[in-house]
Symmetry: D4
Subunit: 220 residues, 8 copies
């Protein structure tokens, strides 16, 4: 076959393999999702970075799939009971696709997601007004493009780990997310770690694992 | 004065401010540490990136300070009772200064550190032989220079969050840690987030926070 | 004419010139392939980086050509009797186009190719399960994108030269293959050398030459 | 001679030429300062980026010179009567050398400087507590290293132009100030422009010109 | 909703929020513009970086909108009475889209714009012939691509602040505006600050604020 | 108008202004060419970097124009009598568009061009076989992509100045011509200077000026 | 201990572990060499990148060690009987330290080294005069800084694999070896692979393995 | 020996080999200079990039050598009779070392050098005042750091080729001369070609060759 599924990953790491849809044909992605679902019928499996060709094929062939065109995700099978809470804090409207990928992944990885949008640092009161809600989370994902300054500010306000996701939103010297990435790697507030540009998926995995190992099964 | 201490940080984030020793005179660092210690006498306070000028002055002026010349850290005051365990997994001997900064910080931030050194991927059996020990951790920090490949391998083996710390060990196209940084940002195993090059401090803060919020006060 | 073929290259280097299809019109590529075939009728000649326009024209005009649309290659003439064996070890499914270009080139350059796919380091057991097969090779090509960590691991397991091919698979801080390239140049296992991003052809030439000069004509 | 002074610059631009001390011998810098002072005896002239060799020579040879070792500046002659006010807002203690160069330059260029230090975004209340003072300025210079996030926050709070000065404070992926520079160029708050890394001088010239053309001679 | 408008920005900074059209659907941009217009009916509100889909929808749905297809801007509501004058000095014809975005923004932000085009340094007399006109401005925006040398020359001729806008005009080692950006950050004439590549909007905000705070309503 | 022609350039520099077609509408380019031709009817004028839209319009509207679709050039008016000879030495077939722009420009700037193609260093005998022809030139332009090694070799063989033109031919770590550019800037043979990536025009201007000032009017 | 030796590496890969001296104290390096020598008394073991502190200590403490101060290497124990021949072709005199590290490593890894120096492409006849000698090798290492053009030329002349080693020799746009590295990755001659900048060790390992698996024990 | 002199270079290219002093011991450089002088006793030979160790040894051992400590050059033997004139136009005082290397090289390569210093574009009148002198040259070398804008301006004023030499003068985003290099590669005036950062030698070789082939032996 064209692929060797890592069937053992759930046992090793607590979560099944996820299909990276970007370099695959729609048929390949759908086939792999189906195989993963057969391996793990009791637990939602996921494909990310799916174009509309793939989501369209999935809609036809994978009955019951939860599809998000904006976020590019396809989930098949029942979501785990959520443990713990992840705040997904988003700087601007244009960061929404990354935010949606993040929210879906948090849920597939077994935590609760609380999405808070358009609270960039140019109008600080918008963030401060949502501070209490953010403080209820067991982990925070902060998603921002352009200057990527939001995690530095959030990191100075909370006591739980902050996972920063730089986005490619911006132009010119934003360099496709590099400016935001560097800002976040140099965040002057401690407790901030960073994942790849536009990697809402990766930020979610880290945060969901933190949240679920923090919270007892009977959620707070 | 030359500085405005963030006296409120303990209340806001659960940990006091830390002195960044790099751009300061020895006198400035020692003064700030003393002030921080007065603000938080019941809880160890920390300075990082201290040169030997600073550690020498601290040894003379700050009685009872715990000083690590290799790691460049100075801690004053009693360590918190540790909650949870952080495995600090290190690729090579040359990464030790970063590893030492990391271990000290984990302890100042209230978790237990388990240091595992010289387990680079060129001799995989060394890592696999320590797998059980790593699996007992609530969070893993992986420290590596050169190719920075170790977090990708560790990330495929564990179920807790992995915080990757690239180091500037290497030469030529290692570009002072950039090669390792990029490898880690692109780690093909999920659950890996990254901090700045040589930032053992930052990796420790994230991991210690995860560990202590995971573990009940009566440690496992 | 628009080109000056290097008719002497077979005599000098043991292999005829190869057409680089990328910057040429379909007609130019097909014309050059035909001329090369006339110069070297007894030995397969090759064009790489051919788009579908070119492969379509070749299918029509070059009878008996061996065409691979995924790998973008066209070969005309009989393959040499293979000497020696090259393992082509591939991290992920999305690296397949580069892997296919590599396999075809190994064969045109007179060695045997053994393709091993989807054995990335995030699920190490997949690679270890194929270790014996890899150990039968006279040279190994390792193809990987994203973190590019696979050659570091393979390099620690084998005694023959490893040629690493970084691919442009990935996004964000993968920078079109630069992250994988840097990882590979800094591989902490010795015996690894590197070719250009997505250069399955170049990796194959090096490995095939090693394999065929290692193995006596009566192949193993 | 080794240099051609731009004697006409005061007439053209409102301010005399300034000596860039970095690539010059102490003797050259002192000679040029003396010549400039003779050309413009009624108005302070300035040298920047002077090492201690140069400031020592100047202390001996230029009587009445105002010398700042930390900021690396030497001023000779009477300061102009200040018009307008520039707030110089500084993220951390390590940015002080750049801040000092900035303050001296603001004064030599004929405006009043108000220095506000150690108000980085990791402890936001420190900045907000000084908001009123900042609002009294006709222009704001914001100086920050590491993540360079401070101008984005200040820019969202004030109505006068903000000139951002990235500093080389930081390590690793701070890349000697590049991270802060990119952050500032992508500031999501409008009204922010940027000068070169560590260029306290340049930020001051822009801000002082804004301040003095805003304020009537009888300062507010 | 998909966005949280910063309704308070006019009070805080003297100007309402501006819609960044780049990452939004036409419907989103038009909706936000309408909401902003309702919040600030007495004062023009603006959207920038709008494609033709968006300008077409705006033309249909926002009666009285001032639309500039070349500059990608949409303005709704009455322009403020202009205070002060901004010279917009442009190196080449290909920089016109950035120049148009700049002129519109200057006017929406309440200053007068004087556009001077095609005065690049390769034919210096063209610039020198317009020197008097430029000297009448309270602030100068200089827009240039390729070598980005124009602000260095203009900066040596005027006494008001110069805001430099690098453009992505050029090819090869122009690197999409990076060459011009670096030139401008290193301008050897003082008084020059810089905004992001192609950011005519940003340059205009800074210059308009300078101009209007320089000039009394009945200009000085 | 949208442009200010530099009518004086012929007097100042010996050659009229050239239209840079890249950022202009077809109508703008054609209008400017017509205006230039009216200013300099006795001497060919040139537009470069013209797309097929522009060359099509020029074919219709500018009778007698010499149009090269591959090189993207349009010339109007009589060529000057050539003085001196420029060898245009080209590494590969894919560099032809740059080579064609170069040849046309050499002729418009008043020298003779001798085009020598497909003589890359991988088959050195091809270059050595043309050595005598190259030695007859008064200046040499060397055009190469990928490794950009050809100017280093040519520079070691000739006594006249070599102008190196890197091209964007290649992939991966060729970085759109950056690899070739750097190679050429570091050419170990002296007498080599470099112009921008793909700038056949710029290389030609330098070489033609050298050739024509070397050779007396009655050409060799 | 501070290190975990990979005692099994000889069995796995055919060669013992090598000590990377750069990040270690002299005592650490000497201790590790002694331990390695005890593990493998019958076969030379190696340390690379040793400064004079380390070579001095080794001279005193490791009797019989073969020390090369220029190349920074220390070898302890008997060299293996050489199998096969490696030509080490060096562009300039300044590349000698890298060349010496390479030659020593080739011998420790069990092949014969033939060193050919100062044959850069600016004087091609020097290389061509040694062509026969180069053709006797089973593998070629080519070492060059600045433009890094030599492997492209050598690659077009030989039939065995070429391993290219870029060096940091040069200045300015050589960028510490990056220019040479990129040239080599884009070598237009096939059969060339590349190792890290200044990595004479790495180039030697690859070439020696090729040479010794090519040649029967009774060397040619 | 440690080096192979290219004795044939004078015959091939019109000038003898030059010693690159940077990577050599003083003894090596002096030995090579002496050997070159013996090969070419009638014609000055040159070493560049010599530190004070080397110039001191040369002063002692090479009687009659012309040594320039600032420029780092040593010349031995009689200068050729100059043909043609090169204007060496220098932006600032800090560029003098590069300018001195350039002037010496122009003379060793057989042309006359006219040095014009401190005429940067921030005070344009200084350059325009020397325009007539510059117009008498057969070739112009322009040397500038920081913004590197001077060649764009000079290129618009003269009819002879301009060779631009970027220098590493500057700080921050000057990136050791990269900013100036990029500016010059993108010079909007045609007729400008570029050499490596700080390469006064390279600029001189190109310009001297142009000058001497332009001018008849009885100089103008
Ligand atoms: N090694 C370190 N790396 C990065 N940030 C640090 C480090 N040590 C301390 N910090 C942060 O630096 C800030 C203090 O900076 P300062 O006010 O200059 O002492 C605090 O917010 C710390 O969290
Ligand atoms: N062309 C532009 N370039 C940079 N920033 C802009 C531009 N247009 C609007 N903005 C800013 O973008 C922010 C709005 O972003 P959003 O919430 O995504 O609409 C506002 O703070 C504006 O000041
Ligand atoms: N292909 C080209 N590459 C670089 N510069 C060019 C090119 N063609 C024309 N130019 C220059 O571009 C300038 C004209 O730009 P513009 O005013 O935008 O037409 C002239 O000074 C030409 O010398
Ligand atoms: N000069 C060198 N360049 C790159 N890698 C080396 C070099 N010398 C030794 N090594 C590798 O470094 C590893 C040992 O590193 P360490 O564990 O830090 O002692 C071994 O796997 C060697 O193969
Ligand atoms: Mg918004
Ligand atoms: Mg080790
Ligand atoms: Mg897979
Ligand atoms: Mg502080
Ligand atoms: Mg123009
Ligand atoms: Mg060819
Ligand atoms: Mg030599
Ligand atoms: Mg000067």
């Amino acid at each position: 076959g064209f692929a060797v599924l890592d069937a053992d990953r759930l046992a090793r790491t607590g979560d099944p393999e996820v299909v990276f849809g970007a370099g695959k044909t729609p048929a390949q992605t759908v086939t792999l999702l189906r195989r993963l679902h057969e391996l793990h019928p009791q637990r939602a499996v996921l494909a990310t970075r799916c174009g509309t060709d793939t989501t369209t094929l999935a809609a036809r062939e994978l009955s019951g799939a939860a599809i998000d065109e904006v976020g590019g995700t396809i989930a098949v099978g029942p979501l785990p009971t959520p443990r713990g809470r992840v705040a997904v804090v988003v700087a601007g409207t244009s960061d929404l696709p990354v935010a949606r990928e993040c929210v879906t992944t948090v849920e597939v990885y077994g935590a609760m997601a609380d999405l808070i949008v358009d609270v960039g640092v140019a109008g600080l009161h918008r963030l401060l007004a949502r501070r209490e809600r953010i403080e209820q989370a067991d982990a925070v994902v902060v998603i921002a493009g352009m200057d990527g300054a939001l995690p530095s500010v959030v990191g100075g306000l909370v006591r739980v780990p902050v996972v920063a996701v730089p986005t490619s939103v911006g132009y010119g010297a934003a360099f496709g997310g590099v400016a935001a990435l560097l800002t976040m790697l140099n965040a002057c507030a401690p407790g901030v770690s960073v994942v790849n540009i536009d990697n809402g998926y990766g930020g979610a995995v880290v945060a969901a694992r933190i949240a679920r190992q923090t919270a007892p099964l009977t959620a707070r």
